[in-house]
């Protein structure tokens, strides 16, 4: 197979004749049609050039397309073709041209249209979310009447996956944050000679705020994204439909165990995270300010009222529920393509963390008189 080439001859009438030869096809792998098009450009532009294709060994649709689009999608008597080449070119020329087709793309939206669309998207999310909570409520009512249908195994699996397997990472992050906070505050407090207050600050901040928030962020990133991806892939592979045809409620089997499992395990995770953060804080306080462990632990319950612990547990329950519901909500909205899967997983984590912080702020305002 010879590569595609061409030579230019002068015709008696002063115009030029381009004689093509070789193999104008992709099968001759050394052909580069971008270069060929570039070399032919001056002849494409000249309306008096004649073209002779009869010397071509073989031409495929790729070669023909490059020539045809150079000629402006028209065949005329300047072009000499073999009969089978003529059929090939006529077929190509009869295909719908690019500009004649409505591609469904490229329409520019105005700002108003875009805001209206995002408003509609928000409303649809809200409705879906409310629908999901309603479905979950109905399932819970159903389970209250038929307790033998409670999916204990799935719940236990979720407690293990979302809780037990999260212990190392939440513990480590809590510990590190505890050290960092205690270390920084120790430097400030020492300036005022208020060393002892490190226990108040650490105790309140960690137990009341940081523990629940840290847990929620970690769980949203760890378990929330996994849930969205799992439910999403199950939608893509029609596994959810398979469940439905077996008469098994997807909410009961997929959503309910996740919600219950993670909501129940969240307070325990918060407790665990807060403990490690306090341990980190204690160590830094001992190294920086010389406050002994025994004194720290003895003084802590006196300055941090036990009600703060209850608040923290309530928050943990709320955050666990919120993160799981949001994860499941976005999982169920995944459309059967990879783009939608990645977009929904990302959005799920972002929305979960934002929602948790929002709820935390509102909660802080309403409980400002409790336990301080």
């Amino acid at each position: 197979m010879a590569d595609a080439t061409f030579r230019v001859e002068d015709r008696p009438d002063g115009s030029r004749n381009v004689v093509l030869s070789g193999c104008w096809s992709l099968r001759a792998v050394d052909n580069n049609f971008a270069d060929l098009r570039e070399q032919l450009r001056p002849f494409f532009a000249d309306p008096f050039t004649h073209w002779d294709l009869t010397g071509i060994e073989q031409i495929d649709s790729a070669g023909a397309t490059v020539l045809l689009s150079g000629w402006g999608h028209r065949l005329d008597n300047r072009i000499t073709l073999l009969p089978e080449q003529r059929t090939q070119f006529t077929t190509l020329a009869s295909l719908p041209a690019r500009l004649s087709m409505q591609t469904g793309r490229g329409r520019v939206k105005t700002q108003a249209q875009r805001s209206w669309e995002s408003y509609l998207a928000f409303v649809s999310h809200l409705l879906d979310f409310i629908g999901l909570m309603g479905a979950l409520l109905l399932e819970i009512l159903h389970l209250l009447r038929h307790p033998h249908e409670i999916p204990w195994k799935e719940i236990s699996a979720n407690v293990y996956k979302g809780g037990v397997l999260a212990l190392p990472v939440t513990g480590l992050v809590g510990f590190m944050i505890g050290i960092a906070m205690s270390y920084l505050m120790a430097l400030q407090l020492r300036k005022f000679g208020a060393d002892i207050f490190i226990i108040n600050i650490l105790g309140l901040a960690i137990i009341r705020e940081l523990g629940p928030i840290l847990m929620a962020v970690l769980v949203a990133g760890r378990s929330g994204s996994a849930m969205t991806a799992q439910i999403g892939v199950m939608r893509v592979t029609e596994e959810i439909d398979a469940l439905a045809t077996m008469g098994i409620s997807r909410v009961l089997r997929l959503i309910f165990p996740k919600v219950i499992g993670l909501t129940l395990v969240a307070p325990l995770l918060v407790f665990w995270t807060s403990c490690w953060a306090l341990v980190g804080g204690m160590i830094a306080a001992k190294l920086q300010l010389g406050i002994g462990f025994a004194f720290f632990l003895d003084y802590l319950p006196r300055v941090v009222q036990p009600v703060n612990l209850s608040l923290s547990m309530v928050k943990a329950l709320m955050f666990g529920l919120l993160v799981t519901l949001i994860a499941c909500h976005f999982g169920l909205r995944v459309k059967p393509n990879t783009e939608s899967l990645s977009a929904n997983t990302t959005t799920s984590v972002v929305v979960a963390i934002t929602a948790v912080i929002l709820v935390d702020a509102v909660f802080a305002i309403f409980t400002r008189n409790v336990g301080l």
């Binding site: 096809s25 049609f33 495929d60 649709s61 689009s69 190509l92 087709m101 059967p336 393509n337």
Partner: protein, 257 residues
């Protein structure tokens, strides 16, 4: 570039495939000549798809080598590998279309990767491939999830044909299609083969597809090719699977005359 038309397009030489203690292929040999349609048949789990994946270079055999167009894929450098891979097209069993891209972009993808065509040419080529597999231009803007099973196979075929390959590798091309559609699909592949001068290797369970499409058939059983011959000569092969198989094919062959 020179090419010897008599050299086999694909040679499988003494290939062994082992997954731990499980042996899938044992000293397997196969040759596919230029321009022929070769069917690969065998029981479920006999390693047909595995062999196909070896051929297209997705996996490597434990021993032995596979030459495509006279070259062993794994020994080539990146650029040569890309060039050789562009000389064959593969249709996967489930289509393996890019789910985030519409039909047009799916078919345009290999063309764009080549970086030789402008938008105008790409558009024309995609429309040409769509016409080739008998889809309408309006189908170009659908997403893979909106397509029926038969359409997915067609789009997959159009994508496999985008770079004008010499060799087409089809994994169960008619599985999951109704008899009408599978007949259409077979007719389509047959036409394309004549139009484009293709060599085709395909795996199938469907006897109708087999009888109407294939020149030669390779029977994979007992971890090797027990027969590689024309369909009509299969009756003479002394192997229970081949015999069994031939009985299914026999009356279809008679119908064809």
């Amino acid at each position: 570039m020179s090419m010897n038309p008599s050299a086999p397009v694909c040679e499988v030489c003494n290939v062994w495939t082992e997954y731990g203690p499980t042996i899938i292929h044992q000293d397997l040999n196969l040759e596919v000549q230029h321009g022929e349609v070769m069917a690969l048949v065998g029981g479920s789990g006999s390693g047909k798809t595995t062999l196909l994946r070896h051929i297209v270079g997705l996996t490597e055999p434990s021993r032995g080598e596979i030459r495509l167009f006279g070259k062993v894929l794994a020994t080539l450098d990146r650029e040569q590998q890309r060039q050789t891979r562009n000389r064959f097209g593969m249709l996967f069993q489930q289509g393996a279309l890019f789910s985030a891209l519409n039909v047009f972009e799916n078919i345009a993808f290999p063309l764009r990767e080549l970086r030789q065509f402008d938008e105008d040419a790409i558009h024309l080529l995609v429309m040409h491939k769509l016409a080739l597999v008998e889809l309408e231009p309006r189908h170009a803007w659908l997403l893979p999830a909106q397509l029926s099973g038969g359409m997915i196979k067609r789009v997959g075929l159009a994508r496999a044909l985008a770079l004008e390959p010499e060799l087409l590798v089809l994994d169960e091309p008619t599985a999951g299609l109704d008899p009408d559609r599978s007949e259409n699909f077979v007719r389509l592949v047959k036409n394309l083969r004549h139009q484009l001068g293709l060599t085709v290797i395909f795996v199938t369970h469907d006897l109708d597809t087999l009888t109407s499409l294939t020149d030669r058939v390779a029977v994979l059983a007992d971890q090797r090719i027990v027969a590689c011959c024309e369909l009509r000569q299969l009756g003479m092969v002394e192997h229970p699977f081949a015999q069994n198989f031939f009985q299914g094919v026999e009356h279809r062959l008679k119908l064809l005359g």
